[in-house]
Symmetry: C2
Subunit: 265 residues, 2 copies
């Protein structure tokens, strides 16, 4: 069991690309410079799992030697399962920080909804931990994380220093500019965007149809205060993200609808 | 292919308990009274799948005779996959309404995050459809949906009549009061709540540990304007729900953090 020391921050690390992904190794190396690290991550890729949890199958948790000097576990479940197991079975106290990633691929705009990386961070925030999801805008396994790392360390340190009120976490995306130079950091809102589905239809050897999900990203937002704008212009995007999904602005309008009385069956 | 008629509303129906669940049958029966219905639902239970999508496996879509007179398909994927396949492969035009459920079990407060039922409705809303997720506060397979149905029909009709701006959908939960009488409808905010994990630890026949996820629901919110309050007091809860997760109120505070310049590596 990880030591319960109060002189150094306790940091929980997870991801959705799996414990062997280069992204989480880069994140662990940065966090080791800041505090005591516990890693609990999926034993296989769990991208696009959103906030899925495992309720119909048992889960396994296995101690592994993935990162020198860092207590680490792989889990058979989803990113959210990893955080829940860490809370219930492994953490000696509430961590001072939870970080998820570094994801191989962007989780900006609407991608926050599908992202296992962000859902792990959301789960930590629901439990009351200061939490950040980090993503690099490069899907490749051998992406270059080096330019991203100083930003990640700085943002993590600033969250430790400033804190955040319950209900808010950070969604941080890091661009890979063509000229190699990241211009700085922008605090952003989530751009209004969606994926236009285009399923690839095929026939199996038994003449039955099957489909692969593909799609095209559509940014419907022309604002210059969005994460998509920041990333396209070479800035790291930081979006304060919440899990209260209530559209508070719509409550009074709904109160004018004719739905309040019990209808006659 | 479902007929493209403009004289009756076109309604897409999905769920997360699977196409054979009594809850979706009750929903289809109500929607048939309102418009032309297309059902695309998972071929097996997909509860707690959140906004997961299937990207590492192909999907299958099979026409089934599940509901008399209603064009219906079962899909091997998640609730969100069902909506995406319906949009790309089955719908003749944008539906006038998308409804998801009726879920066997509540999706109030923080449960909205884990719910496959709500994620199907969220996916439809991202695509621009007026959408509602319906849930009954009874997990049992043989739950009594009859008292809920007049409320469901009324709320669906009012959404068709009033519409909603892009970015907002409805999360509707229906109580099962001890005295059997639903008192009416309340427009609510999502209560601040969480699950406290309590994994059940067991040993398999080979002496290896495994875990079942269990937990205790904790309502941290004493407000009388929440969905949990409404349900506990016998009211149907209607929460306007959004997929812009930005905590807009936090942007100015984050702009005071010392993270804007490029850190020295």
């Amino acid at each position: 069991m990880i030591e319960n020391r109060s002189d150094r921050p306790l940091i929980l690390v997870s991801n959705d690309d799996g414990i062997t992904a280069p992204g989480i190794r880069n994140l662990v190396e940065e966090m080791q410079q800041i505090g005591d690290v516990l890693v609990v991550a999926p034993d296989k890729p769990q991208s696009a799992m959103g906030h899925a949890i495992t309720i119909n199958q048992p889960l396994r948790l296995t101690k592994v030697n993935q990162f020198p000097g860092v207590e680490s576990y792989q889990c058979t479940g989803t990113p959210v399962d990893c955080v829940k197991l860490a809370i219930d079975k492994l953490l000696p106290r509430k961590p001072d920080l939870m970080v998820s990633g570094i994801n191989h691929g962007a989780n900006s705009s609407i991608n926050v909804i599908y992202s296992g990386t962000m859902s792990a961070a959301v789960e930590a925030a629901i439990d009351g931990m200061p939490a950040i999801g980090f993503s690099l805008c490069d899907f490749s396994w051998d992406a270059n994380f080096a330019p991203a790392r100083p930003f990640i360390r700085k943002i993590a340190l600033e969250l430790l220093r400033n804190g955040l009120p319950y209900g808010t976490l950070l969604n941080v995306n890091i661009p890979v500019p063509a000229d190699g130079e990241i211009k700085g950091v922008r605090i952003c809102r989530q751009a209004i965007a969606k994926w236009k589905e285009d399923f690839d239809e095929r026939q199996d050897p038994f003449n039955r149809k099957y489909y692969w999900m593909t799609g095209k990203f559509i940014n419907m937002d022309k604002g210059e205060d969005t994460d998509e704008w920041a990333l396209a212009h070479g800035y790291v995007s930081v979006v304060p993200t919440q899990f209260d999904l209530t559209d508070h602005s719509r409550i009074s309008a709904l109160n004018t609808w004719d739905i309040h009385d019990t209808p006659t069956p």
